[in-house]
Symmetry: C2
Subunit: 450 residues, 2 copies
């Protein structure tokens, strides 16, 4: 008998759980967690669809219900945590016979994996947003969309930042961060709502979508600037200029070089014979641009957004969108639900006196977020257009606003009350705008819900 | 100024890497690792497609090149590891300025995440295999397919197990495990090859596919039995009977109860209005059945396979397959490449005398694997059928064989030489069968490569 075939004593391994067994249990827990996330996100989004609200609001609320502000089932612990929520602790002890330490280990890993999937989720989400954006569409609605976009970025940013500093005594960096979170209209939500009420192809619709695209790019550049500010803690004019230059240079060169590179990719893809011949190279491109963006000091999502913009212009854009859709459907809910789950709404509980100023700040941010976009309607010079509709169409914040909340929460540098206020702002504007937009456009036309 | 708004000192955080910064770096490393996996898997599968070999062989070989037997870029370390491969160590030190401990931490997490994605990948792969299986198709080719399937399972299993025990002195449990790994024909590879040479709808093609389906189910039952054996270390006839009963009961009740449940799901799905309305509930179903299967002592993949079988019968089966395909395209390569990367082929290096017996075992397993399936052709009673083609069509092993290798490797109970021999058997049969099948079917017809 060969030495080679000797194997360890199996029975011993069963008595004391090995690392590998704990990892097997971790797979179970991750499966359960993802199933739970899917279940609540689908219930939430379907309920919202019934109420004619955007699905994303439902996923956020589902996350809030599942997370620290609700059932305490989806919580993200750190290495310093010593106790788990009782329900989870009991489940891991009774069903798997884990000790306290083992249960903590499994649950810490579970949280890190869900966070990582959420990070990959937002990278893929912005890849899709890039794919849905269209530089040419923007050029056709021209100057008007640009004016709406810039006014809609500058006004809420300025008033929110100044207001937070002078009315509420918030430190400048935190105020700039919160102000920046108010800038970007959600292109996904806006386009979805417009298409639901058949107004996507009207001039108003095109201006809104065009402005939302510029907005998105501005929002992402602002995000890069602010994310760096929050890391270095300083408002250095040099580093702002550097970052704007890097962001613009990255986007421009990604688009210009990317156009040539895309032809090469498309050529290669056309010659491929195996499954996944379009999606896999496209994801390599998106992940590598995300990686490069991160390495030069920007956010990963800027890279995947640029990859989407570039690939949208190739003749594979439509097919890629179709293939990416199921992937988005299963990974992006993890992002939205996690964001909701991390939101600690107890900070907004008005029965505690210490929370009241936080609540006032939330109301202030919501007001500025709404008024700051409504005024963009006043910049519309064509008298035949529905100014109110354009202003209202710009109100919903979404993905980028939530990304701000995520980055702020992860940095540890933004107080959780501000994070909660930003998320409340996103939820409120997201809830408000669709019904309002339907109301001001008066004739809703044939309704499509899918 | 409110206490609430006070924030930590950012500059301090940059000097010493915090856990959250290490996690950000881990995201980068996971992105790079996945991109690398995608790149090599695509190169490997495309090269194999050019050589008219199945794409999966290319992904396995790509993994071997990337892993411990090759470039040492995709390696899975454990908590006890103290040094990283020099290239990775250098990269993490120079690019990210990580200390040795931090680099180990990042890389350990990276490996665990890739392993977990690989686990989810195989669950989704078997969900797709279930979706592609068709109980009715099997019934139409009837008894013939059943005979081919049973003979093709029993013959290789019996001769491999007996041979390993009596010729090579392998302990019975390990021998049973290796024998079991030889049983299941790869339905994916076989169906793919038959469709490539336009023989899927011939009687031979239908018998092969029907037998491969039964094979798959038998293989999965055997897997359940053997995986449990390897954990308890005993060949207890009671536990075998228990497991066969549990496996059969699980599959039967999943199918019977699942049929009713599927109507409910389909009804709910038809009323849903938001994105992902089919894929997300289907994945909840697959993940929960995977979880339940695991809890009652079977493997997770039996659950997702059963979920696929059930959903394939609903009127949503085709749409679900179409939606699942892009997901499979991006997650399954992580499984195949990881399997390859974990394969330590140095054990088969013939220049070391201690390896030579291992090599002989590998050759023995490959021979039994081929002859054991070829004999199934002799059981074909219709003289007008191409017996050789049916035998050859059953030769390729694939997913289930590799799952055996994975479970064996993770259990720590199967010597790595046996694991390597199983993987070599899978690679060899996978390589051999397609060209051979094309040869014996003589008139290949119109060739389609997609």
């Amino acid at each position: 008998m060969l030495e080679l075939w000797h194997s360890p004593n199996f029975l011993l391994e069963i008595l004391n759980k090995t690392d590998s067994e704990i990892e097997t249990i971790a797979v179970d827990i991750v499966l359960l967690t993802i199933s739970l996330i899917y279940l609540v996100s689908k219930i939430g989004s379907e309920v919202c669809a019934r109420l004619r609200l955007p699905a994303v609001s439902g996923e956020l609320i589902a996350g809030v219900i599942l997370g620290v502000s609700g059932l305490n089932l989806l919580v993200f612990i750190t290495g310093e945590t010593t106790t788990l929520p009782p329900l989870i602790q009991g489940f891991l002890e009774n069903v798997y016979g884990l000790t306290d330490t083992e249960a903590l280990k499994v649950f810490l890993f579970n949280g890190k994996v869900i966070s990582l999937l959420s990070d990959i989720g937002v990278i893929i989400l912005l890849f899709e947003v890039g794919l849905e954006s269209d530089l040419n569409e923007l050029l056709s609605v021209g100057r008007q969309a640009l004016v709406v976009a810039f006014v809609g970025v500058i006004v809420p940013f300025f008033f929110a930042t100044i207001g937070l500093i002078y009315l509420f005594g918030v430190p400048p960096i935190t105020a700039v961060f919160a102000g920046a979170a108010l800038t970007a209209t959600s292109i996904g939500i806006t386009a979805k709502v417009l298409s639901e009420i058949n107004h996507l192809k009207t001039t108003e619709g095109q201006i809104i979508v065009g402005a939302a695209i510029v907005d998105d790019i501005l929002g992402i550049i602002i995000l890069a600037v602010v994310a760096s500010l929050i890391k270095t803690g300083q408002v250095e004019i040099n580093s702002i200029i550097y970052l704007i230059l890097v962001a613009v240079a990255f986007l421009v060169s990604a688009i210009v070089i990317g156009r040539f590179f895309t032809r090469f990719i498309v050529n290669v893809v056309d010659r491929m014979q195996t499954r996944g011949q379009l999606l896999v190279p496209a994801l390599i491109f998106a992940f590598l641009l995300a990686y490069i963006a991160h390495r030069i000091g920007l956010e990963t999502i800027i890279g995947s957004f640029a990859a989407g913009l570039v690939l949208a212009e190739s003749n594979k854009g439509e097919e890629l969108k179709r293939l990416l859709a199921p992937v988005v459907d299963i990974i992006v809910p993890i992002f939205f639900v996690s964001i909701g789950a991390k939101t600690d709404l107890s900070i907004l509980n008005p029965s505690l006196p210490s929370n009241r100023e936080g609540l006032v700040v939330t109301l202030f941010l919501i007001t500025v977020a709404i008024l700051g976009k409504l005024v963009t309607g006043l910049t519309v010079w064509n008298p035949s257009l529905n100014k109110m509709a354009i202003g209202v169409g710009m109100i919903p914040r979404g993905e980028v606003g939530l990304v701000f909340a995520e980055i702020g929460a992860n940095s540890g540098a933004v107080p959780s009350a501000i994070i909660a206020a930003i998320i409340m702002m996103v939820i409120t504007t997201t809830f408000l705008a669709p019904s309002w937009l339907r109301f001001v456009l008066e004739k809703p036309g044939q309704e499509k819900t899918t």
